[in-house]
């Protein structure tokens, strides 16, 4: 028996979410008194792989078959399945990232395992069952999910589990499972990255703006504020619907759900559907000229006033603070 963690990387570098997943897996392995294996798929240097040991991985399996250089969920799920078999894994942990969302259900079906998706806390192990609280109804409630199958798959929401160092002597082993022929019927033709930008689900700070900004030409001040904070930018639904910002920035019940450490909402009224996607943020700051805006009811800090005056001043003040 063991715990297996699938660790995502981008162009050979592990993201924070990978370390979060390893930290989660380590906590489970400790409770179960068993070993933690991390699996990495694609080309990653040994020195980078060894970093997984800093968070508690006893062993790293690395598979760098050239066919696996692009993420294809069907193929990656097959590799995770083989690793789970080899390691006799009882728990498989992965990140509930965009790619994780395509992967976890496939891994679960292959292993006939129950899947707890969108998990934000360590669960409770009792005999063969695992129970965990997770957010449902778009953050408007929590449910305690009880997994009773022998093998369990857990997908962890990025940014919700703190990374914990746990220096472990780690063995790096290469892993070369058989790859099913039919697992490559999706071909990645091109990857387009918004360079220099922090990705929304992984961001620890998000600067978000709404219809109060009046038009796309006014977003420079949002970008500037985001830049001093090292933050990602987001927007409300009407803003992306109007094409002022790309759909990928739309947060809320019908957009991306986020849970950063700090969410700064500027010129957003705080409609229920918007709040549903952001209410699990640790700290919320609201800037709105309307003191009655519903967003103030869920905010930790609020500034009533005109965004066009406040935001540039805040950026300047932060620059002064940072230097």
């Amino acid at each position: 028996m063991s715990v297996l963690v699938y660790t995502e990387h981008r162009e050979g570098v592990f993201s924070k979410t990978a370390f979060e997943a390893v930290s989660y897996g380590k906590a489970l392995a400790e409770q179960l008194n068993t070993n933690l294996t991390a699996l990495s798929i694609g080309n990653v240097e040994e020195s980078e792989l060894k970093k997984l040991g800093q968070y508690g991985a006893d062993k790293v399996l690395t598979t760098s078959h050239e066919k696996l250089s692009d993420f294809v969920n069907q193929a990656y799920a097959a590799v995770i399945y083989e690793a789970a078999k080899q390691e006799d894994a009882e728990y498989i942990v992965l990140s509930n990232s965009f790619s994780g969302k395509g992967l976890a259900p496939r891994v679960a079906t292959k292993l006939k395992a129950a899947l707890a998706d969108g998990v934000t806390e360590l669960g409770k192990i009792e005999g063969g069952t695992f129970s965990v609280k997770k957010s449902v109804f778009s953050n408007k409630a929590f449910a305690t999910d009880v997994l009773t199958s022998p093998i369990k798959v857990i997908s962890v929401v990025p940014n919700s589990i703190s990374i914990k160092e746990s220096l472990t002597d780690v063995d790096v082993e290469s892993f070369s499972p058989e790859l099913p022929e039919n697992a490559f019927s999706v071909l990645v033709k091109e990857v387009i990255r918004d360079t220099g930008k922090v990705s929304l689900p992984e961001a620890s700070i998000i600067v978000s703006a709404g219809r109060g900004l009046k038009g796309p030409e006014n977003w420079q001040m949002i970008e500037d504020l985001a830049e001093v904070l090292g933050a990602a930018t987001a927007c409300s639904k009407p803003v992306s619907d109007a094409g002022w910002r790309p759909h990928a920035e739309h947060v809320g019940q019908t957009g991306i759900a986020v849970s950063p450490d700090l969410y700064i909402a500027i010129g957003i009224s705080g409609a229920i559907q918007h709040l549903a996607g952001v209410s699990s943020s640790k700290v919320i700051v609201v800037i709105n000229k309307d003191p009655e805006a519903p967003f103030f009811k869920v905010a930790d800090y609020g500034i009533v006033g005109d965004a066009f005056e406040i935001v540039p001043k805040l950026t300047e003040a932060l620059k002064a603070f940072k230097s």
Partner: protein
């Protein structure tokens, strides 16, 4: 081109989420249901595809038939209801995969997730059960020479994919504009077939023990617009987020 669109019904986005029976069950009293917004996008894309023969499928009890009729009014030719409580994603995915095994399709379109349980599990589970390829967050879908050309969202960017059929897709914003049924659609929907089928048995692997509502946040601390250093100090010293 035979297309299956998977439809689920969810509480209206303005719904107050409450629980009954000692927080064991969702309180459906007064809840208005809508077609899951992402499923609506999937259906809207399907009806744009030339020569599409569209079936919609739902796993649910008879109260979901209004949603299926609406889907027929938007342009599906036929509706299937698997007559069962949609216990969880595992159960629903098995029902839909079973239907596809007996009735082959070129394309299976789902919403990328439902806005009630937000699992985003069903599309990839259907694909897993059928061993079909799948794309989870599809913002653009075109069909060309028997292949699908897709834009998928990834962390910090997007990918352009080409995929073989049959294929399972999770539809996200951008894939289509939501189509509202017109009068002709609504009239013709009444005479389109809506078939009810029996569910298959699926072993249960998990269950929800109880629900709870989130803790209310503490009252907001208001900061003067000319005192931004105070905000920075609070965020740094007290909240420790910058």
């Amino acid at each position: 081109m035979k297309i299956l669109v998977c439809i689920s019904q969810v509480p209206d986005t303005t719904s107050k989420i409450r629980f009954i029976d000692d927080n064991k069950h969702f309180n459906t009293e007064g809840i208005q249901y809508i077609i899951n917004p992402y499923d609506e996008l999937a259906l809207s894309r399907a009806v744009e595809i030339e020569g599409a023969d569209i079936t919609v499928i739902n796993v649910g009890k008879a109260d979901t038939e209004a949603s299926l009729r609406k889907a027929l009014a938007v342009g599906a030719a036929k509706a299937i209801r698997v007559d069962a409580e949609p216990r969880d994603a595992w159960f629903v995915a098995h029902q839909i995969a079973e239907y596809v095994k007996n009735n082959p399709f070129d394309l299976i379109l789902c919403g990328k997730e439902s806005i009630d349980y937000n699992g985003a599990q069903v599309p990839a589970m259907i694909a897993g059960l059928l061993d079909f390829p799948s794309v989870s967050i599809c913002r653009k879908l075109d069909l060309e020479d028997g292949k699908a050309l897709i834009e998928q969202e990834i962390e910090g960017g997007k990918e352009v994919l080409s995929a073989d059929l049959p294929l399972v897709i999770g539809a996200a914003e951008g894939i289509a504009e939501v189509k509202i049924p017109n009068m002709r659609g609504i009239m013709s929907a009444r005479s389109k077939p809506l078939e009810t089928i029996e569910p298959i048995d699926v072993p249960q692997l998990s269950h929800i023990e109880s629900y709870e509502s989130p803790q209310p946040r503490e009252a907001v601390t208001l900061i003067e617009a000319n005192n931004l250093d105070e905000l920075i100090a609070q965020l740094h010293n007290k909240s420790k987020v910058i």
